[in-house]
């Protein structure tokens, strides 16, 4: 059983780590304060292939699979959660939906510029009345000849303010419910009727724009139906499923960064005549953090391997997201504690990381939903059907 990372992935990790440290980390505070990830950073990342890591090279991607993508998200997650979120929503769910269920023509037309970072993607499912209860969406797509007229609004959409291409879930047959009544569409935001609504003023990941997307009788051609007509639920479940693994990887990065900063601080800070790293309480905190991070690391990368080798991974992906978000929150909170009063100051990275981390337990399916997914999967094997 060989746990070593293939060499190309080691070099990839090193390249991304260097890029993250040199190009992104110095800007992390500014990203938070100015509430924007500079386009320049996205352009530089795109030039190195970082906006399409898991996608095949024939569609402009890097060809590095879920494993490569988790490495990217971990390394970026270490330095700037906002940037990781922008890339994550773009690659992990926005473009991913097109990769998983798009026709070759759709992949050529849409996935390629997205993989190259020439355009930005978003994934639009959530609405005011449909969060965890995703099937309760009301955005309507009504047939009109060969086209569909899309009307409705989506809420809390990551990359909403900057997206060019959006994978939108809409109701095509209200009588059928989630099974058969929802269809996914690829929508271009410069089409007539598309607009960006309210931009959220958030606690954290303030550099990642989150907004309302408004569709006012947008004409969507039938060529832009994503996946099977009426099977939109399946498309978005599949997409969210795999998206959870890399989100776990981003959380891993945040937790790792918290641990490293805690150690650095504990070595430097002296109280009562010695560095606080010599206090057993601090040593135990570090040991606990390190242990959870190792467990999360094994979980995330093993799950990425399962994705890349075509094995069923739904349960494990949910675990990555559930455990990852909680480990990140615990580690970062612990880091703030280790920093003491200084940990509460905006001068310090861990303060921002603390605010940034909280969302991970909520978006991409709340942790409560993740628990239901895990339990359902376990019970299915036991022959018991759970309904959410």
């Amino acid at each position: 059983m060989d746990f070593t990372l293939p060499k190309e992935y080691e070099l990839l990790r090193r390249m991304i780590r260097d890029f993250a440290r040199q190009e992104i980390a110095p800007l992390a505070k500014r990203v938070d304060v100015q509430e924007e990830v500079p386009r320049e950073v996205i352009r530089k990342a795109a030039e190195l292939g970082m906006m399409g890591v898991p996608f095949p090279q024939e569609y402009g991607g890097m060809g590095a699979g879920e494993l490569g993508y988790c490495i990217l998200m971990e390394e970026i997650g270490k330095v700037c959660t906002s940037t990781a979120t922008v890339i994550g929503a773009h690659t992990g769910i926005g473009a991913m939906a097109i990769y998983l269920d798009g026709t070759p023509e759709q992949k050529k037309k849409y996935l390629t510029p997205l993989a190259r970072g020439e355009k930005i993607a978003a994934f639009a499912l959530t609405e005011a009345n449909a969060g965890s209860d995703a099937a309760a969406i009301r955005t309507r797509a009504v047939r009109d000849g060969d086209d569909f007229i899309l009307t409705g609004s989506k809420m809390f959409i990551t990359n909403g303010p900057i997206a060019d291409i959006v994978s939108v879930m809409a109701v095509t047959d209200p009588s059928l419910g989630p099974r058969g009544g929802i269809t996914a569409f690829i929508v271009e935001m410069d089409w007539k009727g598309c607009s960006v609504g309210k931009v959220e003023d958030k606690m954290g990941i303030r550099g990642s724009g989150t907004s309302e997307l408004i569709f006012n009788e947008v004409r969507v051609p039938k060529e832009n139906i994503l996946g099977q007509f009426g099977a939109g639920f399946v498309t978005f479940m599949k997409t969210l499923d795999v998206g959870r693994v890399s989100l776990g990887a981003a959380c891993l990065g945040g937790a790792q960064a918290a641990l490293e900063r805690s150690i650095q601080w504990a070595k430097a800070r002296t109280q009562f005549g010695k560095a606080i790293v010599h206090n057993q309480s601090i040593q135990w905190m570090i040991a606990n953090m390190a242990t959870e991070i190792e467990a999360l690391r094994s979980l995330v990368y093993r799950t990425a391997w399962m994705v890349d080798t075509g094995q069923p991974f739904t349960r494990y992906a949910a675990m990555c997201k559930l455990y990852g978000s909680e480990v990140a929150s615990r580690c970062i909170s612990q880091a703030v504690q280790i920093y003491g009063a200084l940990g509460y100051s905006r001068d310090v990275e861990v303060e921002r990381m603390f605010r940034d981390a909280r969302i991970a337990e909520i978006f991409e399916g709340t942790n409560e939903i993740q628990r239901i997914v895990i339990a359902s999967d376990i019970m299915r094997q036991e022959g018991v059907r759970i309904s959410p």
């Binding site: 190195l48 060809g63 590095a64």
Partner: protein, 258 residues
Amino acid sequence: MRIVVAIKQILDPEGITVNRRRERIFINREERIINPADKCALEAALRLKDAHGAEVIALSLGKPAADDALREALAMGADSAVLISDKALAGMDAPTAAMVLARAIERLAPFDLVLAGQTAADTGGDQTAGRLAELLGLPQVLQALELSLDGGRLQVVRLWDGKPVRAAVSLPALVAVSPLAPPARYPHGARIMNAYRQMQVSVWTAQDLGLTPEELTPNIESRGQVFPPERELGTVVEGPPAQMAGEILSLLRMRRLI
């Protein structure tokens, strides 16, 4: 245009700490990297390739692990890579290493330009480039910062005793690139994947280069390590500003900082 770039894989000095009091060297993090000055040399070659079109051949003399350094060079944009690796070449001293490299570069003829890093960040060695130039019969420009091509003539901005000056040389030539030259580009992710999955690194042995055991016998020995004294911290002086300025300048001169 054919450019040969000689690169060396080293242990990242960032991962090594020296404890002066205990007189020991600790490897905290064992990571192998391309010697920074050699990476600058690769970057210089790739810039010439971008501007004028060129075939860039990366060459390395080292252990089998140096394959990773060459893959990184390929990922950055080198067209081909050659690794000289052989048990017979273990423990070479600087003169022997230069001789082996020269032999390999000759085998890669014809070429227009040989680039190498000026200094090795681990050993501090900076004689290889000059030795190569002599062995290959090439004119040399050392401590180069920027290279550009003007007709068949290479224009170089280089350091001379710390000050930038301009030089020109007709090809073929050898240029040693300073670690202060522009840092290397990041390798594109898809090329990283392909460098390992699709491209090849040729491996040459001592026999391939026609090297005899006598030629490979090292002649330089080490007589051990010496550690500088620990930094003495906490000295505080007080006095009128002019005198204090004098104290500061004395220290700077003593430490050869000015």
